[in-house]
């Protein structure tokens, strides 16, 4: 037996409260009705008589107390909505009736026919159980997106024709609504079987086992993106975990705005459902990026996610590095000053070797730094605001910082700054954004990706799905809602409670109850 209305704890606690309240009410002193009789002779002859109820005394009318307690317990039990769950497990079959079901399989038949055959075979093989039913997901109620095709207790002979008459409509995400609806009536001993296209399914949903019905179409392949993250401290490396239920090759494309897409190929015929893909050497300058997974050939199925944020790049700036580098790193939110042991990048001067990390080695420039002071300074639109405020025309910078900037200009370009070519700061930023990542190349990296907003790092499965036009008429919403089982036990409890109340009234009318 399961309780659908109240948890067992609440049920027991409520029963205790009811018993306590009834006991107190039963013990309360009542106002005595005064009656004059001709004599107390016979009442005294009765010996021990029942005393009126008293507070802080034992209740003397146990029958009335027990009747009230039982009636209250029955009503409370009915509120708990108990349902009998036979030992026989139940199975709810979810069958795909979305627009994808009209796709043609290898044998030329629509996929929906394959689904119907599989569902009928499954119902013929084994009973669906007391709460088992066949539910089509897709179309129907826009809230639930499900339609019951074969209800509990109905003969399975009705199933085939009903499936043939079933319209298809709606997007594939109604599967999750169907799963939520199905597990509401099931226990962990039951199961949900999904018959449809290749789909990455969870092993269990709310504790109820979920499995795929095993329809092999040979054309639809599924792949999902389980996780995509930049390696901490390595913003140029993206790790992607794919979930695949396909034998077809998978192509993963990383597409940054303003940068050339990077493509990786996953070989087919892997036994593992989880496939790691790693992208190294990603451009840092690019900002918004999406990850696209394609599987199959005709038509291709794709899945997209927006890339998560990158963490600030930890940069260790040596003390003898010009002050301008400190200012740039500190002002840009995409960079973070860090001690040398936690840094991913190093900015230093010659003579401070570090063989492990990419380093920006600041080397002396040539010529007279003062003479190369920029005369036409402009600020890049994405230049950090604090830096822009301080160097709007170059003169705002302190002399030493201005010098450093010019010096850097020289170091980057290898040539004296030419008037009209651009502000020193702009060149510095451009160089910073486009710099390579390997060591011993003067200047550092970073700042390329804008923050893209918060992206949940939890596992997320997007189902690659063929886009098929939908032309199915709307379904009758009357058939959409899942049908609950008959509320037999609550009705019985209510009936018993009413009988007890009637018995109590009958006894009271005859003076057998107070």
């Amino acid at each position: 037996m399961i309780l659908r209305g109240l948890s067992p704890t609440v049920l027991l606690a409520g029963l205790g409260v009811l018993a306590a309240v009834l006991l107190v009410l039963h013990l309360l002193r009542v106002r005595l009705r005064r009656e004059t009789v001709d004599s107390l002779l016979f009442f005294r002859m009765l010996g021990q008589v029942q005393r009126p109820r008293m507070l802080f005394g034992l209740p003397s009318r146990w029958l009335a107390f027990v009747l009230a307690l039982i009636a209250s317990a029955l009503l409370w039990g009915a509120a708990a909505d108990p349902r009998l769950v036979p030992a026989r497990p139940s199975r709810i079959v979810l069958i795909d009736s979305t627009a994808a079901a009209v796709a043609v399989a290898d044998d030329g038949r629509p996929l929906r026919d394959h689904y119907a055959d599989r569902a009928v075979a499954m119902c013929d093989e084994a009973d669906l159980g007391p709460r088992g039913r066949v539910v089509a997901f897709g179309g129907g109620d826009p809230t639930t997106g499900v339609r019951t095709v074969l209800d509990a207790g109905e003969p399975s002979a009705l199933l085939e024709q009903r499936l043939r008459d079933l319209d298809v409509a709606g997007p594939p995400d109604t599967l999750w609504a169907a799963l939520r609806s199905a597990v509401a009536d099931l226990t962990p001993d039951d199961e949900v079987v999904v018959i449809g296209g290749p789909t990455v399914l969870p092993a269990a949903f709310d504790g109820v086992p979920v499995r795929h019905g095993g329809v092999a179409t040979g054309r639809l392949e599924t792949v999902g993106i389980a996780r995509a993250r930049f390696v901490p401290g390595e913003p140029t490396t993206l790790e992607v975990e794919l979930l695949r239920d396909a034998d077809a090759p998978i192509e993963v494309t990383l597409d940054f705005e303003g940068a050339t897409p990077v493509t990786a190929h996953v070989p087919q015929a892997s036994d593992d459902r989880s496939v790691p893909v790693r992208f190294d050497g990603l451009p840092l300058r690019a900002a918004t990026g999406t990850l696209t997974v394609r599987v199959g050939v005709a038509p291709p199925r794709t899945a997209h996610i927006v890339l998560p944020d990158r963490e600030p790049i930890a940069v260790f700036v040596a003390e003898d590095v010009p002050r301008a580098v400190h200012v740039l790193v500190e002002a840009d939110e995409r960079l973070a000053l860090a001690p040398s042991r936690a840094a991913a990048r190093i900015a230093c001067t010659p003579g401070v070797p570090d063989a492990e990390l990419p380093s920006l080695v600041i080397t002396p420039g040539v010529g007279d730094p003062v003479a190369r002071r920029p005369r036409d300074t402009r600020l890049a639109p994405d230049l950090p605001l604090s830096l822009r405020d301080r160097a709007h025309d170059g003169t705002a910078l302190p002399d030493d910082e201005a010098w450093d900037a010019v010096w850097l200009e020289d170091a980057l370009t290898g040539a004296p700054l030419l008037a009209g070519r651009g502000a020193t700061e702009i060149h510095v930023v451009d160089w910073l954004l486009d710099s390579p990542t390997h060591r011993d190349v003067p200047l550092l990296l970073g700042w390329t990706l804008r923050r893209l907003g918060h992206v949940d790092d939890t596992v997320r499965i997007d189902v690659a799905q063929a886009a098929i036009a939908s032309g199915a008429p709307p379904l009758d919403p009357a058939d959409d809602a899942p049908r609950p089982g008959p509320p037999a036990i609550p009705a019985i409890l209510l009936g018993l409670a009413l009988l007890l109340v009637a018995a109590d009234a009958w006894l009271h009318a005859r003076g057998r109850l107070p």
């Binding site: 005064r34 009656e35 009789v37």
Partner: protein
Amino acid sequence: MATTETGPRATSGSELFDAAFLRSLEGLRFVARRVPAGGRIAEQRSRSRGGGVEFTDVRPYVPGDDFRAIDWHLLQRLDRVFLRLFLEEEDLPVHIVLDESASMGQPPAGRREPADKTVTALRVVAALAYVASHRLDRVTIHPFAGEPRRPLPGISGRVAFRRLLAWLGQRPAAGEGTGLVRALKSLATPSARRGLCIVVSDFLDPAGAEAVVHALRTVRHDLLLVRIAHPGEERPALSGEVEIVDSESGESLALHVDDALLSRYAAAHRAFEAALADTARARRGGFLSVRTDRPIVPQLVRLFREGNYHT
């Protein structure tokens, strides 16, 4: 605490004993089952065989017998002397004990209809006294409440009955406790000639049922117990949490009345009446429960027809 409400009754004497009631008494006859020998001749038949007019038997003559009673026909036929025996008729001392306690004026418990046992008791006394006095028995009425009250001395004959009715019509309303035991003990004087004692009461003496039964056994007369009862008295119309108050003593008792208690109450009530009936039978008498909601005379006729008394 005994109440002392002794004012006049709401029912006057003329209302108590109207013409219809008096006419209904004409058919009653009261015959005692046994009258003591030696009493004055009355219209009662005695076990004594002597100078009456109704022949009953013969016996052999013994010296000293009255010659006037010799059966001369048997002497001629059998040549032996037999004496004719006649049933001697004597008067019957009738003592009527009348309960005037407060409980006699109490309506049924839990009911609102105005019913009064006193009226019924007075009519019963009048009816029984009518029969007895018209048979020339000597009727004495002993009223009592908490204590025995001044009795109405023995009366006999039709003329005296009118005086008895007037006396009954002036009885005060019920208003004191029940002193039945003391009233019965006052009748237990050894010198009193043995007769018939009629107790008209509800027998609800606070001394208890056993004390009442014991007191009845001390009475040296034959007993006719007439219990005045309200309809349904054996099962009061009470239920739930009540505080019942004794109409005589004012004592109260808080209790819960349910079906089980009422059943036990009815059983105690029946046992008490059975004890009264057994006591009366042991004294060659009878017991009758007279309901206040029914006519008096038919109930008394039933007593005479079914019991040891008949008209």
